[in-house]
Symmetry: C2
Subunit: 221 residues, 2 copies
DNA sequence: AGAAAGTGGAGGCGATTCCTCAACTTCCCC
DNA sequence: GGGGAAGTTGAGGAATCGCCTCCACTTTCT
């Protein structure tokens, strides 16, 4: 409000971009568990430079992911553009998983959507109604089993991307196979068992908090 | 071969049992990631005592789990005693998950079965043929989809028990719900998608190695 | 050329885990 | 009941890891 931000010196600007580039790679590989030291090393700059530009890990994460989360919103819009609700839902699942498997940082960021963990929880205001509609369309056409709801989506995402991580980057067939298995479980079918009551918002928050590495380190005391 | 093992002194014997009792609890809660210091503290003895009795974490794990893994074998036998192959398979899945959700150490041990990670890989010689038969029966009766095989079982186990851990001990409904979803995905059904080629033994080993904490700490250099 | 901005990376700090060791205690057997 | 072997203890050494600071040095800008 009261500040004018000075333009960066040319070398500083160049380094800032190098850092973002390196951070992209490092966070893709390690998710929020990446360290700023690691980023600095990959960028070929000193750690001090990284900390001068991005005083906390959170600031760097913001710069990296804030707009990329919008891609998920357009993905959901694409899903709604498909005529079939089922195809919309499954396309959304498959493509989201692919994005998250390739970039674990994006996965961690996306899981923070809709929970109180980080301020890009705000993206949820755009995304959640869209997801709700994706689910609703599939319910309406009777293709998605009735006892599956929006709160199951983060769990599926977290689980399948965890498997993707454990199986390394080399064999995407593995997590894809597992996702297809789950997708077949989502189908409304006569023989299906009973899933019981839906997950609560609190359930999801607790699980996601536990699945995503902490963004802020312990502050020195 | 050449040694006679001396009987323990009475206090040592008492302490050994205390340690095993404490280890049961600590490993149930933390799995192979439990520390021997933690066990000592819970047992109310000094760490030195634990290290004297169980020189490595592996020795303690052996003493804790070697025979309990046999329970999984009898569970598989129970599954084969059921008239329906499908019921056998799903009963096996459900009950194994319950055991592993309650005792994370048992989960870690069970995941080592059949891979070269620990010598109770040998239990696999008893267990794997039984599992193969559980799967085979369900295939034969046409209830289990044909493109699911024995190598999918460890993945399902690892995934669902991971979810159980992330959701804390308080809400078993959560992992049960997810397991039921997967079970419904396992059913042979006309609309099912294609899972692609089965997992290889190597796939499973790589994933399990990555999912189970290392048993041996880094040796001092 | 001088001042302001930026840089590097060794190293302090605190946390975590492993495991040892030497002073002390308990037990067992004669 | 006494001697010596067996057992116990827990502080602390050593290694690792991640966060972040600090200040002597370099680069840019005017």
């Amino acid at each position: 409000m009261t500040e004018t931000t000075r333009p960066l010196r040319r070398d500083a600007q160049r380094n800032r971009e190098r850092i973002l580039l390196a951070a992209h790679d490092v966070f893709a590989a390690r998710g929020f568990a990446a360290t700023l030291d690691d980023v600095a090393h990959h960028a070929g700059v000193g750690v001090g430079t990284v900390y001068r530009r991005f005083p906390t890990k959170e600031a760097l994460i913001d710069a990296l992911f804030a707009d990329r989360l919008e891609d998920l919103v357009s993905l959901a819009e694409d899903a709604l553009a498909l005529p079939s609700g089922w195809d919309g839902l499954t396309m959304l699942l498959r493509r989201t998983i692919e994005m998250h498997a390739v970039d674990r940082g994006l996965r961690d960021a996306a899981l923070c959507i809709g929970i109180g963990k980080h301020h890009f929880a705000e993206v949820g205001e755009h995304l959640l109604p869209l997801l709700q509609e994706v689910i609703g369309r599939a319910h309406a056409e009777g293709s998605l089993r009735a006892d599956v709801g929006i709160n199951d989506l983060p769990i599926i995402m977290a689980t399948v991307t965890d498997l993707a991580r454990h199986s390394g980057g080399g064999r995407p067939e593995i997590y894809r196979r597992f996702l297809e298995l789950i997708i077949d479980g989502l189908r409304a079918a006569p023989g299906n068992g009973d899933l019981g009551p839906a997950l609560t918002q609190d359930d999801v928050e607790a699980i996601v908090h536990d699945c995503v590495p902490p963004i802020e380190a312990r502050r020195r005391g």
